[in-house]
């Protein structure tokens, strides 16, 4: 289900976000490019230190000092968000582009009632709406994310909800102004499996019904497998592989993607040793010369000292590798 019929909702070109710390400059995002079409769910996958969360924050303009977006473009419906004045960015944020965080308490103010917060969100972007209408819309939004007894819930405080409910309220708030794009940063990582299932269901229903695009940031490949249409794998602040979900998961080309898929228990048969990618992820303060993955790659050689650019060895697939696995029959780890 590749929905890139019209021009993409969001197009990121060569985004670069660096953190200027006392210990050095961390290149958290170093040349990331992808695009998300209307109604498309893109999974942005990586481990800790890969830069996936910072990418999400950079798109929506929430990178605080010592971090700064130093280069590249983020084109939302053709308009570049990088360098946009604060006032204009604020009009977009929460209105046309919304974000859901891992911890719902980053969205919810613990001392305000839910209805206050939701009405505030609506009125902030459209002061002409009457309070009754705003309340009605809020009630609808809560209903749409599957919260029972929405009238009662509107009058509650965040601490009166369970973790899963809070995340649903956060999603409802994100939906209020019918955004074109939702960036979800690990929203279900802290939730139980059955509650995660409920949230994934809501997210999927939403994108199908309203045509909202979504970027789902996570480290959990299995969640992305079930939910997303396309996937973007990040490592060391760079995109190493991207493409349609089935293509990438069934025929991974980059050694890191292959290694990652090999390490996940579900894929292998029970009781065998998992493939383990040796070593550790590099510190963003101290990225190696050339390819970020070479220290852990079974195929690395001198050619990898030159940083590889994104190529398209197969149609629709972007890879950043000097020695991609183009031969589908190769064993993982070869």
């Amino acid at each position: 289900m590749s929905v890139k019929d019209t021009s993409p909702t969001l197009e990121v070109r060569n985004l670069q976000t660096h953190f200027f710390t006392k210990a050095g400059d961390a290149k958290a995002v170093d040349g990331v490019s992808f695009s998300v079409g209307k109604g498309e769910i893109m999974g942005l996958v990586g481990e800790s230190g890969s830069g996936k969360s910072v990418t999400g924050f950079s798109i929506i303009g929430l990178v605080d000092p010592p971090g700064n977006v130093v280069g590249g473009e983020v084109l939302y419906n053709g308009k570049n968000l990088v360098g946009l004045p604060d006032e204009q960015m604020r009009q977009l944020r929460g209105n046309r582009i919304a974000m859901i965080f891992q911890d719902p308490m980053m969205t919810l103010n613990p001392v305000l009632r839910v209805d206050t917060q939701m009405v505030e969100t609506i009125l902030a972007h459209d002061p002409s709406v009457s309070k009754q209408d705003a309340l009605a819309r809020s009630r609808d939004a809560l209903g749409r994310v599957g919260i029972p007894a929405p009238d009662e819930r509107l009058r509650s405080y965040p601490h009166q909800f369970s973790g899963g409910m809070r995340q649903r309220v956060a999603i409802a708030i994100a939906l209020l102004n019918k955004p074109d794009l939702i960036i979800a940063d690990e929203p279900t990582t802290a939730l139980d499996v059955t509650i995660q299932g409920q949230i994934l269901y809501e997210a999927q229903k939403l994108c199908r019904e309203t045509g909202t695009s979504m970027i789902w940031i996570t480290h959990d490949l299995a969640v992305v497998a079930g939910l997303a249409d396309s996937i973007c794998v990040m490592y060391g602040g760079r995109v190493v592989e991207q493409g349609l979900i089935n293509d990438v998961l069934d025929h991974p080309v980059h050694p890191y993607t292959r290694g990652l898929l090999g390490s996940v228990p579900g894929a292998n048969s029970r009781g065998t040793r998992l493939y383990q990618i040796p070593g550790m992820a590099p510190s963003l303060l101290n990225l190696p010369q050339g390819c970020a993955f070479q220290a852990r790659c079974p195929r690395a050689d001198e050619a990898c000292l030159v940083e590889p650019q994104i190529t398209e060895p197969i149609a629709g697939r972007g890879v950043r590798c000097c020695h991609p696995h183009l031969n589908a029959e190769e064993e993982i780890g070869a």
């Binding site: 040793r273 493939y275 990618i277 040796p278 070593g279 550790m280 590099p282 510190s283 220290a295 780890g333």
Partner: protein, 310 residues
């Protein structure tokens, strides 16, 4: 560095290994001296401590040795000459004592009493607070009620009553200050220990069947030190000022061992007659001491607080 699946558990490669090379203490020092204000305060404090410790060696005169003091030098202005020929840099007091020397000795007493009482109160308060946190339940409840009661009385009031009963003397005032202060330490360390007690490394120690003593003193206590260190500095300043107040009011220290408070009291009568320096300089010395201790304490609190984003 290729890895084949049949290899047994590999040893971690050293070069990707080390995040920082410093011991916790080195890290702490670097963080502390980042603040210029705190560094300046620290230097001042070291200077004050040096003066206090070396008072007999660096004072031009021993103000309590009556043979060195002459009433003819009384109330001389700062900078004036004594009849012996040397300068009273800060003037003299009503009895003819060199104010600078009196201040050095006074600092010694003030700091000595403050630090001493602080240390003793810390030991007692820490032991009680740790016991309350570790054993919990009824022991905790009883101890905390005592602490609450103790803390609800104004410190000055308690100290005055105690000193009225105990009389004058350095040891009596230290006892009084200890009784007034131990409760702060107990409460602080109890709060810290309660948090640490629920951490998994303490559970691990229980799982490894280590003795209670070992867990409390080797595991809990070192991790409760940060807030305790902060309280020690702030409380020492508090003790010094409390002692100064008590001396100013005339209780506590005898005249033979005057602290800064007593010096200020002595000069109080002359304030409006124009001999302002007799109270003024000891007052300034007291102020500088307390302010520098507080500044150091503030920076310590910021540095040792793991939650602060630095």
């Amino acid at each position: 560095m290729s890895e084949n699946i049949q290899n047994p558990t590999p040893i971690e490669a050293p070069e990707e290994f080390v995040v920082t090379l410093q011991t916790p203490f080195q890290r702490f020092c670097l963080d502390f001296f980042e603040s210029r204000v705190a560094s300046a305060a620290f230097v001042v404090l070291v200077g004050i401590l040096f003066i206090a410790i070396c008072a007999p060696l660096i004072s031009p005169q021993n103000p309590y040795d009556l043979s060195q003091v002459s009433i003819l030098d009384a109330k001389m202005a700062p900078g004036s000459q004594s009849f012996d020929g040397w300068t009273f840099y800060l003037g003299t007091d009503g009895a003819g004592r060199d104010l600078m020397s009196a201040m050095f000795y006074g600092l010694r007493i003030s700091l000595g009493v403050g630090v001493m009482s602080g240390m003793i109160a810390m030991c007692i308060g820490a032991a009680i607070g740790l016991a309350a946190a570790y054993f919990g339940g009824r022991i905790d409840a009883i101890i905390m009620r005592i602490v609450d009661i103790q803390l609800s009385f104004p410190a000055i009031l308690v100290a005055l009553i105690l000193l009225a009963v105990l009389g004058k003397g350095v040891d009596k005032i230290i006892i009084a200050l200890v009784i007034v202060q131990w409760a702060y330490y107990a409460r602080t360390i109890r709060a810290s220990a309660l948090v640490e007690r629920n951490k998994e490394y303490v559970e691990a120690a229980t799982c490894l069947a280590l003795s209670h003593n070992r867990i409390v003193f080797k595991h809990l206590f070192p991790n409760c030190l940060p807030p305790l260190i902060v309280v020690v500095t702030i409380q020492t300043a508090h003790a010094i000022s409390l002692e100064a107040t008590l001396s100013f009011l005339g209780v506590g220290l005898p005249i033979s061992e005057p602290s800064l408070g007593l010096l200020i009291a002595n000069g109080f009568d002359y304030m409006l007659s124009g001999y302002f320096w007799i109270s003024f300089f000891p007052g300034i010395a007291l102020l500088i001491t307390i302010v520098s201790i507080n500044l150091v304490g503030d920076q310590l609190r910021d540095v040792l607080n793991p939650r602060l984003d630095r």
